[in-house]
């Protein structure tokens, strides 16, 4: 008898799939259900199901990461609410997937394919998962800034520029200036280089805040910002940032 494991972090959706599968594929034995990725990995190891219905967006470990841990003869059906890229990728790689809400018609088709088809080769699946999860380098999203014991969180996109001020970094936003205890190089390595430009040894500026850059004879640029009185200066080694390409 064919066995299946159903994984979704929303309990009602697990139940729904159980009910629909019971109706459309009575011979299928749903041996277990899981509500997060970690539980899914444990259950899959214990129950060794033939088929795993896997939600993609889950807390802890997402469906793609779970898929990588499954034995290579498992048949996987990804279930997703909205992952446009993933859906396209699945389409191309012949991996089964269902879109929520799952309709009976589509589920029937998937069942027919599951009954006939060999599982997708593990190598293909791993490659697919790799392309989907290829770590888009994640940049700093929040700054913890604070005076004394109160720490405030400032979203990175509120920052106009950073400027070294003695031991600290001045974090200048539209309304306020905060202090940050960090080295500018450390900070720079965590910022998206398309959004923040280092313009001299002590200053990093948000590109879309730059209103104008004017070059002087020594190849330095005087930078005027929107809504800020202060002008900044890009030193000559960083002048290339403003050169036409």
């Amino acid at each position: 008898m064919t066995t299946a494991l159903i994984v979704d972090d929303e309990p009602k959706l697990v139940n729904y799939l159980v009910v629909k599968l019971a109706k459309l594929w009575p011979e299928l034995d749903v041996v277990g259900t899981a509500e997060n990725g970690l539980e899914a990995v444990t259950l899959a190891q214990k129950l060794k199901p033939d088929i795993v219905f896997l939600d993609i967006k889950m807390p802890g470990l997402n469906g793609l990461a779970v898929a990588e841990t499954l034995p290579k003869d498992s048949k996987i059906v990804f279930v997703t609410a909205f992952d446009q890229y993933a859906a396209d990728a699945f389409e191309q790689s012949a991996v089964d997937y269902l879109l929520k809400p799952v309709g009976e018609e589509r589920l029937t088709k998937t069942i027919q394919r599951l009954k006939q088809k060999e599982p997708v080769a593990k190598a293909d699946l791993v490659a697919l998962v790799k392309t989907l999860t290829s770590p888009k380098v994640s940049f700093l999203k929040w700054l913890r800034v604070g005076l004394d014991d109160i720490t405030e969180l400032v979203p990175i996109q509120d920052v106009v520029y950073f400027k070294v001020d003695l031991k600290y970094i001045d974090v200048v936003t539209q309304n306020k200036t905060y202090l940050l205890r960090q080295s500018l190089s450390d900070l720079e390595s965590q910022l998206d280089p398309d959004v923040f430009w280092r313009i001299n040894r002590g200053c990093i500026v948000r590109v879309d805040q730059i209103a104008k850059a004017k070059r002087d004879f020594r190849g330095r640029y005087d930078i005027t910002l929107y809504d800020q009185d202060q002008t900044l200066r890009a030193s000559q080694p960083f002048g290339y940032l403003f050169k036409k390409s």
């Binding site: 997402n62 992952d83 770590p135 539209q174």
Partner: protein, 352 residues
Amino acid sequence: MLWKRHLLIFLVNTISCILIAVFIKTQNLAPSYTKALIVSLCIGWSVQLTFTIFSRFFPNQSTSYLLGLVQSVIGLLVGMLLGGFLISGNALLVFLTPYANNGFFFSLFFAVVGGTVVVTLMRLKEQKQEILEFEANQLRQEVTLSETKLQFLQAQIEPHFLFNTLSNITSLIPTEPLLAEKSLINLTGLLRIKFDGSQNKVSTLADELWLIRTYLDLHNMRLGKRLKFEIVINKSAEGFDLASINVPSLLIQPLVENAIQHGIEPSILGGSIRVLVDIESNKVLVKVIDTGIGIGVEQPINAIMTSHAGIGLSNIRARLSAIYGENASLKITENKDAGITATLIMLREVPE
């Protein structure tokens, strides 16, 4: 355009050469006006030719002073040899005759000054162009940015939420049709407000709290025991009629949305959200406190999982400052035990 510029330089160059020739003759550095003019023109034209040729081969180096100097000297030497040959048949004449030394240094001096002037003029022109192009780039970026903003505003309903909610409602139809009906009506109400383009509208605190409750109810249906929530109106605010207190529409709800998306949903165990509302004499205070995963431990974003993290916050801050100026604030802080607190303080009256 280009030939006009070349012609202009040629004319200026030629006139300068004539003046220099006259000057050299009056200083008795040349045997005759004709000869002085021939040598002078040879040098002037050969310098200009050298610059033209160099600019072909080093299109990006046109504003280097060093290269300018090299070009001047090459042009000068070629011009002197040619001029010497033309006036006496001996190319080396200018270097050999007694009056040559002074003439040579004069020529060198004029060539270097001329070269410097030319390079400086080119630099000025290029600078102007760079600034213009930089401004054009900026403009393009701005356009892209506002397009992104528009897309974001239109997509204020997070697609995962929408499709998962629809999916949940579908699953309720056979077993709990009444709950399905209620949820569908709630979702419809929420969508209507969101699609209203209501960014700049004024709403009431009562309406905004209804929106938040509806939104949290829908999430509660999805997440089950992983989400607990409560909306608490402080005792001191009880004397106020919430339906008569104006607040900007859709300003508080995004804070709750953030708490769900970045606090509760990524957490295996889930958590709770408390919305605290307080009204003081002239201020409205709203706190959204979650016990979710907080920041820093968030999973790295996968390419397929688009995240609007924080965009909502900037948007809220921008609106606050546009509406209230200095009289409103939004603070995000980390809770001691778990999760994040967003504290929103604004004037009780929405300024005109």
